[in-house]
């Protein structure tokens, strides 16, 4: 079976969630990757190592215009005879996959967390991570958008052939005027380790402890919704039902009560550590490891121990 995977390489590199999508595709069938922008050929050839056979790169579209990318992916699917098309459920995937679904009349399973079952159905996140649904396709062509951090990437040692691809992308309808890059190197949606804090930290001036621990671990930082609402932290750090949903390997929550709407965005995390002064805080019910204590004392101590650990390992 021929599978096509679209990956977003617009910022010049191949993110971890893109590797996951390619590897996922290769578990379903012979995988061609399609991307756009100016990323180098050598880097693209490296996608063979996670399972790609071929990479098609369109140099003409250098922005995230959903209509243009949809046209490119549709042309590539046609050229490759692909009946399954895979995206990462990242910000580009969220805008292109539905357009493509309408264009090709191909059913879309978004938020996939596992490979298709024997009957072809796909397990996806629903109810903000509080449950899973099994999506069955009624269409011949299928589109799957994979939740970041939901599969393990394996290396095959292979190398992919890279071809320039020049399908008609149509005119850009959305003109990019400016880009404001997010600070910090580790992006929250794809981070493996996350340190998060809530209203228990009392004020934005106390976030140094959170950032120091995150730095020691190599983790991204996050926060609860009220913290973003009052402007202590930027909006893009807000996790939960109405913020970003994440599934890191480790989620450390300090001074967060664990309201159901907060849990909705983080309960896909593999391991949860909760630091809270209140032993009755609901978050402890969802935690793997709990520390009943003051974040102002615990966070710096934890940072110290992490640094010690890192210097020995």
């Amino acid at each position: 079976m021929s599978v096509l995977v679209y990956i977003d390489t617009l910022n010049g590199s191949i993110a971890k969630n893109a590797l996951e999508a390619v590897h996922y595709g290769s578990k379903i069938g012979t995988t061609t990757v399609v991307t756009n922008g100016s990323i180098g050929e050598a880097e693209l050839a490296g996608l063979g190592n996670v399972g790609a056979s071929k990479v098609l790169v369109h140099r003409g579209v250098t922005t995230g215009d959903a209509a243009q990318i949809t046209n490119i992916v549709a042309a590539a699917a046609e050229a490759e005879g692909a009946s399954t098309i895979v995206f990462s459920q990242d910000l580009t995937g969220r805008s292109v996959a539905p357009r493509l679904s309408a264009k090709l009349k191909a059913g879309l399973a978004s938020g996939a967390v596992a490979l298709p079952a024997a009957d072809g159905s796909v397990k996806v996140n629903v109810f903000s991570g509080k449950a899973f649904g099994n999506v069955a396709f009624k269409s011949d062509k299928k589109i799957i958008a994979l939740t970041p951090n939901s599969i393990q990437v394996g290396e095959t040692g292979g190398s992919a052939s890279v071809e320039e691809f020049s399908a008609d992308a149509g005119a850009a309808s959305v003109v990019v005027k400016d880009v404001q890059k997010q600070e910090g190197d580790i992006l929250l949606p794809e981070a493996e380790l996350v340190v998060s804090a809530g209203r228990g930290l009392k004020g934005p001036e106390n976030w140094g402890m959170v950032e120091d621990l995150a730095k020691a671990l190599g983790a991204a930082t996050a926060c609860s919704r009220p913290v973003a609402d009052i402007g202590w932290r930027p909006h893009h750090e807000h996790v939960g039902q109405t913020g970003v949903a994440i599934r890191p390997n480790l989620y450390i929550a300090a001074g967060i009560s664990g309201a159901i709407q907060h849990l909705a965005g983080v309960n896909g995390s593999k391991v949860i550590v909760v630091i809270n002064t209140d032993p009755e805080a609901p978050f402890f019910k969802a935690a793997d490891y709990g520390i009943v204590g003051d974040a102002f004392e615990v966070l710096p101590k934890l940072k110290e121990e992490i640094e010690k650990f890192k210097s020995q390992n």
């Binding site: 009349k105 629903v126 400016d178």
Partner: protein, 246 residues
């Protein structure tokens, strides 16, 4: 300017999630439905603000059954001028988008607003599908939208930051946090909503592309292991040796 806002229902965020009929159906017993937060807080309120600044009308559209009329009245109470309900169960995003696109084609709107996603199905699908069906630009995950004549300047979330883009009407936009501030309907709005027009139309023929076959719940967590606050060395050791996450 004519604005169309897509309004869907969602279970109240504190609802207990479980399933019936052999795990094939969401258990609605005791569930309170609300307007999907992204649709209410951001899409609807920003459309109302644009109308208040430049004139025009705000119409809401919902694909749903008569049970959805109460959440539609809430949108009218917040300030929408009129509402349309396409009388059908919304089981499939493609079917839903198709109904909305048919209505938009027939009535012509400058901007179609959706929410970022529904908090029950989390598909982020309907907005992009409507755009494709209308042959219009789609700006996903907007956190700010200003309109100057027929040119909109929109902040859109992208991987690793925010893109500031320009797009001409007509277009479709999905609305995320930052677009507007939640509005609480007042008594006058609630009274007025009772007499505002709610038109019910029948769906156009359209096949579903997918169906939810069954549901499952995540495995229950094993009990929390407690570590003393002055023994962070033990926590680090557990994270390394037991949990194997560092």
């Amino acid at each position: 300017m004519k604005f169309l806002v897509c309004i869907s229902k969602a279970p109240d965020t504190t609802s207990k999630i479980d399933f019936t009929e052999g795990n094939s159906k969401f258990n609605e017993a005791g569930v309170q439905y609300i307007v999907n937060p992204y649709d209410e807080w951001y899409a609807l309120v920003r459309a109302l603000e644009l109308k208040e600044a430049a004139g025009g009308t705000v119409t809401t559209i919902t694909v749903g059954t008569p049970a959805d009329d109460s959440i539609i009245r809430k949108a009218l109470a917040i300030g929408a001028d009129n509402a349309v309900r396409v009388n059908a169960e919304a089981n499939d995003a493609y079917f839903t988008a198709f109904q909305i696109a048919e209505y938009a084609k027939a009535n012509g709107f400058d901007i179609v607003f959706t929410g970022k996603e529904t908090i029950n199905y989390n598909g982020s699908q309907v907005g992009g599908m409507i755009a494709e069906m209308l042959g219009q630009p789609f700006v996903s995950l907007a956190s700010k939208l200003d309109l100057n004549g027929s040119v909109a300047t929109v902040n859109r979330e992208m991987t690793g930051g925010v893109e500031i883009v320009e797009v001409n009407t007509p277009f479709v936009v999905s609305s995320a946090k930052g677009m507007a501030e939640q509005r609480i309907p007042n008594m006058r709005g609630i009274m007025a909503a009772r007499t505002k027009p709610l038109e019910v139309i029948e769906p156009a023929a359209c096949d579903d592309l997918v169906s939810f076959q069954s549901y499952s719940l995540p495995e229950a967590k094993s009990a929390c292991k407690y570590v003393e606050p002055d023994n962070m060395a033990e926590l680090v050791s557990l994270l390394h040796n037991e949990a194997k996450v560092i």
